[in-house]
Symmetry: C2
Subunit: 348 residues, 2 copies
Amino acid sequence: MFAINDIPHTRINLLTGEKILVSPHRSKRPWQGQVEDLASDNRPAYDPKCYLCPGNNRADGDHNPQYKAPFVFVNDFSALLKDSRQGEINVSDLLLAETARGICKVIAFSPRHDLTLPEMTVEDLKLVVEVWKGEFQELASHEWIKYIQIFENKGAIMGCSNPHPHGQIWAQNSVPVEVEKEEQRQVEYFDTHGRSLLSAYLEVELQEKVRILIDAEHFVALVPFWASWPYETMIISKRHVQDIRDFSELECEDLAKVLKELTTKYDNIFETSFPYSAGMHQAPVNSGDQGFWHWHMHFYPPLLRSATVKKFMVGYEMLANPQRDITPETAAETIRNQSNIHYKERKV
Amino acid sequence: MFAINDIPHTRINLLTGEKILVSPHRSKRPWQGQVEDLASDNRPAYDPKCYLCPGNNRADGDHNPQYKAPFVFVNDFSALLKDSRQGEINVSDLLLAETARGICKVIAFSPRHDLTLPEMTVEDLKLVVEVWKGEFQELASHEWIKYIQIFENKGAIMGCSNPHPHGQIWAQNSVPVEVEKEEQRQVEYFDTHGRSLLSAYLEVELQEKVRILIDAEHFVALVPFWASWPYETMIISKRHVQDIRDFSELECEDLAKVLKELTTKYDNIFETSFPYSAGMHQAPVNSGDQGFWHWHMHFYPPLLRSATVKKFMVGYEMLANPQRDITPETAAETIRNQSNIHYKERKV
Ligand SMILES: O=P(O)(O)O[C@H]1O[C@H](CO)[C@@H](O)[C@H](O)[C@H]1O
Ligand SMILES: O=P(O)(O)O[C@H]1O[C@H](CO)[C@@H](O)[C@H](O)[C@H]1O
């Protein structure tokens, strides 16, 4: 043991096997660097120029219907295409490439241009969860698709180019690298212990309590012991299931509730629409037995000290190890202590 | 084979074994997202408020000498400390942590507040290379130090909090995760082929030529086949050496020249001080036989389309795979075609 809130140390990310460096003594460092622009928080419910709003035209000329529930379409600028012909390059085992096939979709979470997940009702969030489930089901029915990435980039600072609430799904014919890492670690644990890595991990966290944010009926939200972003969190299903297709209606509703609570707490930290990239990690599909996989969802938010000062994962982080100053335990306390009522509602 | 400039594909990073996704057809995507502030390019040669300028006070009260050559000091807000006591945490093999020891230093590259590497003379850059070498030598003489990371964060957009030209060195008692990956791949290759991975790779690149930027006497600058940042590059030593201590005086001078040429070309792309994180990967020290290691230096610059539009490595990239639009070959052509005369000099 050592004083985890004082002494620089490394922690192991159980899901990737990789280290992160924690420097708790360093939080006092003054900041003279870049300050981000504050995104305006006042958007109209409908924006005639938004390519996601109901009834508007999209960049490629398609026309959005007057949708009332979450609306899904194929990304007009897909990074992956369905019809790429098979091919590979191999120069002396040194230059290695192969073609990639996939389908990229966009989901407008709501017809309302001015909302974000925490500002939507649990009922409307449940519709989003159900659309994720339906899309996963449909995409997994194509034999050639091996992995489906459901994610959301929220906020301009996270590369989101349109504030209309939306997420993405990229489905592809191979398993991406971050998923391969988690696969390897989960298989190892499952083969040795006969239970899922995240079931065992969740048990320890529910005992220690310090990193738990929300302990709901079917899901737990926590700051992982190995979090590398300042306010990084994870949602883990209590039941060991491989992917979203397994969630019952009650589970879908509980997930909607936890999503609302977690993102509301996020927004309340700095009284700003809290930016992040979030996404589910689920078992590859059409890839044989994946019984060891345990569904979870990561949130990687960049803010550090205020609505305008973020953590930079640069130099040392890119070349060596992710590094953080405030400890995961301190971050958990800050998030947990936030109200479940959104700051905008309190202000009315 | 397939049309590498048309079809989405994945490439393998030889040094990490990890994939990246290339989507060449996607470069036409319009950008409506975040636009960065342009950093002012007109700084005084001396800034009385800068904590790095000669003769000024630092944040912790120390006083800088009237230095004329590169000036090195221990970081006032070191992420690693020298004296952390040994300790570890292990809860059921699930919560894993251990204390970390290290030394963090800052190098002011020049007394001049207004310069950057490409604006310095080759003679002055050679002094920087020699200071890197001397510091590496000194730090490696401590038996407990296992790895030394030399790097530079350049530009506010890369988390650099002071525009005075400077870099950092973090030396530590363990080998960080990105270095471990490269170690593993290099050992494998060396054991199988009896030569270094990067020697073999360099040979292929010098034949193909399309990704070569600078072919100097002792060093080559190129865009790696697996580059994930839009203008990512690498400098590789022609001689297979483990670390900077092995460089002769001629090699130090040649490295200074290549650094000047590469960073000048970078600045000329968008006629802006080109931001990046750059750093050397070198063999761990005090760690037994490292004969398989081959010295190299990475440059990870974030800009994509202009001086103010960067690539966001977010959602899909964080959860799945790095992804890029313009191909490494196209990027190489753009960089290579830049003048070796800095745009500011041409403007006078
Ligand atoms: O040490 P600096 O320049 O204050 O800080 C910068 O570089 C560090 C090392 O890459 C990062 O951890 C910080 O996030 C970044 O802002
Ligand atoms: O697809 P978008 O929202 O236009 O683009 C955003 O998300 C993508 C997937 O994470 C990234 O590749 C882009 O860099 C980012 O700007």
